[in-house]
Amino acid sequence: MRGMWAFIHKLGSPPWFFGFSGTLVRWLLPVTVLLLAVGAYWGLLVAPPDFRQGNSYRIIYIHVPAAVVALAGYYVMAIAGAISLIWRIKMADVAMRAAAPVGAVLTAVALVTGAIWGKPTWGAWWVWDARITSMLILLFLYLGVVALFEAYENKTAAAKACAVLTLVGTVNIPIIYKSVDWWYSLHQPASLKFTGESAIDASMLYPLLVMIGAFYLLFAMSMLLNMRAELLWQHRNAHWLRQRLDVS
């Protein structure tokens, strides 16, 4: 227990975190690349084609992991925001700021791959489906956080403002999702349900799980790299950093 608290305290120290994250990235990088390669090969080449959709379904190996991690990313951001507001830990600000653009990009990837899949399957790039609309709103929420951070001159205030905005968004996300669900069922469009709730076969599921794992690692790694870049900038004149980087 004491060890855990000591570890958490150390996370709050920029010099210690800079060293620790460096080691972590060195280990994460090969694992992420390996998982991405294995998952992509398995999903795109080995897994059997779908009974009805043929090969076009294979885009789920990018689409689903991106969507899953994009959603989780908002909660990472919200937790970092709460930590920053409650305990005033500067590293939490850096973490929140680092998660936002990664989450926004993943949301955009999920939307674009969904559109590419939708064209041959549904015959339209875009349909106003409940889940698609919710993802679009999530993209706006992410972009709002990024834009608010950029708009403040004072970056300490920017981080705090973003933390408040993220928490307000977190309270609202379940309401937004539920309301968009109701909105969709209220306006029942003609026929969209292409694939029913058919259970996914193990031969297709396992590569998907590998890809989801790979995307989580990719998110973590991008976030760590963003945080390191931010630390380099914030402490560009600090003694410890100059020592660490061997510049005089």
């Binding site: 507001l85 709103i137 706006f140 929420l141 972009l143 709002g144 834009a147 608010l148 708009a151 403040y152 001159e153 004072n154 300490t156 205030a157 920017a158 705090k160 403002a161 408040v164 905005l165 928490l167 307000v168 968004g169 309270v171 609202n172 309401i175 937004i176 539920k178 309301s179 968009v180 109701w182 909105w183 209220l186």
Partner: protein, 233 residues
């Protein structure tokens, strides 16, 4: 016993004075009250011009049109909600006062809602009739707008508090609060549509009421925190 921090006014009196001060300021410049209504009127006029004058089509789209325009009008007025207080320094005095900033800010927001959202809800049947909304939807339109503009004003106040120190924060404000306004729009349009169809709209109205009650409890906290951040920046 030192009583340095003991406020001389009760919380309710402080709230009331904030309400009256902001209300008087709004009344003093009538344009702040009249402009949102004019905006609402003009944007409603644009829809028949864009969609064509077919009464049936307009009537079927009227709930959506009226709600979207109400949302835009509230967006427009939210931008200036705390601006004058920030510029003339009264926001700093509010922050220094011994009463919680969230309650004082809520006093202003209440005055603001009464002068914009509430007024807009009351006159909305006029515009609804111009669009040919069937008369059985009018009562629900007013009721849903009363509850809905309260939600929109509270969300707008949080957004306004976050962006008040930023120069040209208007566009940013819309990016921040439009996604948060989605449930209000959905519930409001659904309530009016149900009423027009002759069905019971109470599900949507109660949902909207719940939303308004929840926001009334939580939004002031976010507002207070956001205003302090804006003052520190």
């Amino acid at each position: 016993m030192p009583s340095v921090d003991r406020p001389s006014l009760s919380l309710l009196t402080a709230f009331g004075r904030q309400f009256r001060r902001h209300g008087q300021a709004l009344m003093a410049s009538l344009t702040d009250v009249a402009n949102p209504l004019l905006f609402f009127f003009m944007v409603v006029t644009l829809f028949p011009l864009g969609l064509g004058p077919d009464p049936q089509q307009l009537a079927s789209m009227a709930p959506g049109i009226l709600w979207v325009v109400a949302l835009l009008a509230s967006l427009m007025v939210s931008a200036r909600m705390f601006a004058s207080d920030f510029e003339d320094g009264s926001l700093e005095q509010m922050a220094l006062a011994s009463h919680p900033l969230s309650v004082l800010a809520l006093g202003e927001v209440a005055a603001h809602w009464l002068a914009t959202g509430c007024l807009l809800a009351v006159v909305s049947p006029l515009f609804a009739m111009m669009l040919g909304l069937p008369s059985q939807g009018l009562g629900v339109l007013v009721l849903s707008l009363l509850l809905g503009t309260l939600c929109l004003t509270l969300i707008g106040a949080v957004g306004s508090a976050l962006t008040v120190s930023i120069r040209r924060g208007g566009l940013l404000l819309s990016l921040l609060i439009i996604p948060l306004n989605v449930p209000v729009l959905i519930f409001g349009t659904a309530a009016v549509t149900e009423a027009v169809m002759g069905r019971d709209p109470s599900t949507w109205l109660t949902l909207m009421g719940a939303l308004a009650a929840g926001m009334l409890a939580l939004a002031p906290l976010a507002m207070g925190a956001a205003l302090r951040i804006s003052l520190d920046s």
